[in-house]
């Protein structure tokens, strides 16, 4: 079976290897040497590792509500299918189709401090005066990259939520209306509980995605200023392919793997993939 062979060679084997390599020290051209838990001990003391992990967590905390608030609002407005809503849904979903690289350059250009559209529009509206630099200060950079990501990815969440809203049987609402439930009560006691599994599912997909962040920070901030926007995947990439610190890079990879494994295990448990 071609599928099994592919998965065994390019997934199972590397998966075992990353654990093995995380217990090794690699010398250039000399091969590997078993050093036990030394890489993990180093990891606990490594301030750049903790910083990258922290940056990734902060980014996740900022970007998740930025994605979900508009996605929930738009899904609620567009849940019925008409010609109008179909066109609007498509428009809100288009950014999902382009790459993170393209989206990053699109917005890096909008954020440009000397000729950028954002500075121009905000000056025009009188919100700011002069030229603000959007990506060179830590918190501002984190926020502005998150704005871009919200624009780029909320469509995915919106579509999943719309599907969830549409799967709620209309009869429930009709019955509640006959019993005299107000619009708010219907939302509180029918929509919210029925929608919960779908919200949890898309929340976890979104959080897992944020933990894997690489492209947009690589392009928009290069991890700066002072590595405060360097994510965990960027750190792995740097350790392995710039510093050639293979063993240590593998240990950091194992940490990422374990975190995401827990996140997805939660997802499996809360619904979604079942063998049926």
């Amino acid at each position: 079976m071609p599928a099994i062979i592919l998965m065994a060679v390019f997934f199972v084997y590397p998966l075992i290897r990353v654990f093995v390599m995380s217990f090794q020290y690699w010398r250039v051209l000399k091969g590997a040497e078993f050093i036990g838990l030394d890489n993990y001990a180093k990891l606990l003391r490594d301030s750049e590792f903790w910083k990258s992990l922290w940056n990734t967590i902060i980014y996740t905390a900022i970007v998740t509500p930025m994605i979900f608030v508009p996605a929930i609002a738009l899904a609620n407005c567009l849940k019925t299918t008409t010609r109008r809503t179909r066109i609007l849904r498509t428009i809100f979903f288009i950014p999902v189709a382009i790459s993170f690289v393209s989206a990053s350059y699109l917005w890096k250009w909008i954020y440009n401090d000397t000729a950028g559209l954002l500075n121009y529009l905000l000056n025009l509206a009188g919100f700011i005066r002069g030229q603000q630099s959007w990506l060179s200060e830590t918190w501002m950079a984190r926020t502005m990259v998150s704005v871009m990501i919200a624009w780029k990815t909320q469509g995915m969440t919106m579509i999943i939520l719309i599907a969830g809203l549409q799967s709620i049987p209309q009869a429930l609402y009709e019955a509640a209306e006959m019993d005299g439930a107000s619009k708010r009560q219907r939302f509180r006691f029918i929509t919210l509980p029925m929608l919960r599994p779908v919200v949890v599912l898309s929340l976890i997909i979104s959080i897992a995605g944020s933990f894997k962040a690489f492209d947009h920070f690589f392009i928009m901030t290069r991890g700066g200023p002072m590595k405060t926007t360097q994510t965990i995947v960027m750190y792995i990439n740097k350790l392995a392919f710039e510093y050639f610190d293979i063993g240590f890079g593998s240990a950091v990879s194992v940490v990422l793997l374990v975190i995401l494994f827990i996140v997805s295990a939660l997802q499996m448990k809360l619904g979604g993939y079942k063998n049926d």
Binding site: W109, N112, L117, I159, G164, A240, L260, N275
Partner: protein, 273 residues
Amino acid sequence: MTKLTFALLIIIAVIFLLPFYWNIVSSLKPSAEILRYPPTIFPSQLTTIQYDRLLGSSNGVFLLYIRNTLILAGSTILLVLFASLLAAYAMSKLPFRGIKIIFLLILSIIMVPFQSLLIPLFDLFNKLNLIDTIPGLVLVYATFFMPFCIYMLKSYFGSLSDSLRESALIDGASELKILTKIYIPLSLPAIATVIVYVFLETWNDFILSLVFTSSNTVKNVQVGITDFAMQRFTMDWGVINAGTALSSIFPIIVFLLLQKYYVQGLTSGANKE
């Protein structure tokens, strides 16, 4: 929907499309006008000079990137379709012991991000002489984009009636014949989902191409654009905007043509609760 909500949604839609408009308009301005402040929302003249510069630089390397990416996406789609149709058919219709193992594999690939396997994959590529080759990248893409496709095709096959297969078996048809003559023609919507999903994933990939390729004849268009942006001392926004616009047209067109199937595939999991 009230008139007020609709008006509000139109405004939001305009804001959503603004980055695309700004990208295209910027790519059609002469170099001097691009960096002018205040920027011209409606350019005084439209010119294709940025596209000429993009396509003309380094012997048309940008078209080479586009060609590479099309080959990468096309080969990955074929490989994924081949492997996942067979796997999904076997899993849903043939009782055998390996099914549990495949299902476990599929689940774990969905759960383990390839970003955490870059180092051992690089090591493996080194041993197999696959670094900086198109087949190497295709094999990794296929491995990591296949699980979703198998899962989706399997549930689609599961929804087709078993009586079709049984009567074909009585008529003496082989399993392979049943798959190609009955199941595949009946599963065209699910196959369309696979095509658009794999196309978008491979076309938009950045980190795998960045790590595993280095020569211009293999690199994909995303890495190509970053090369244009980062290899020069100052950002050449004319060329970058032209490159971004050109490379985004492909996934946008594929998405618009096949969006029904893409959205159906993505939301099939959500509706199963």
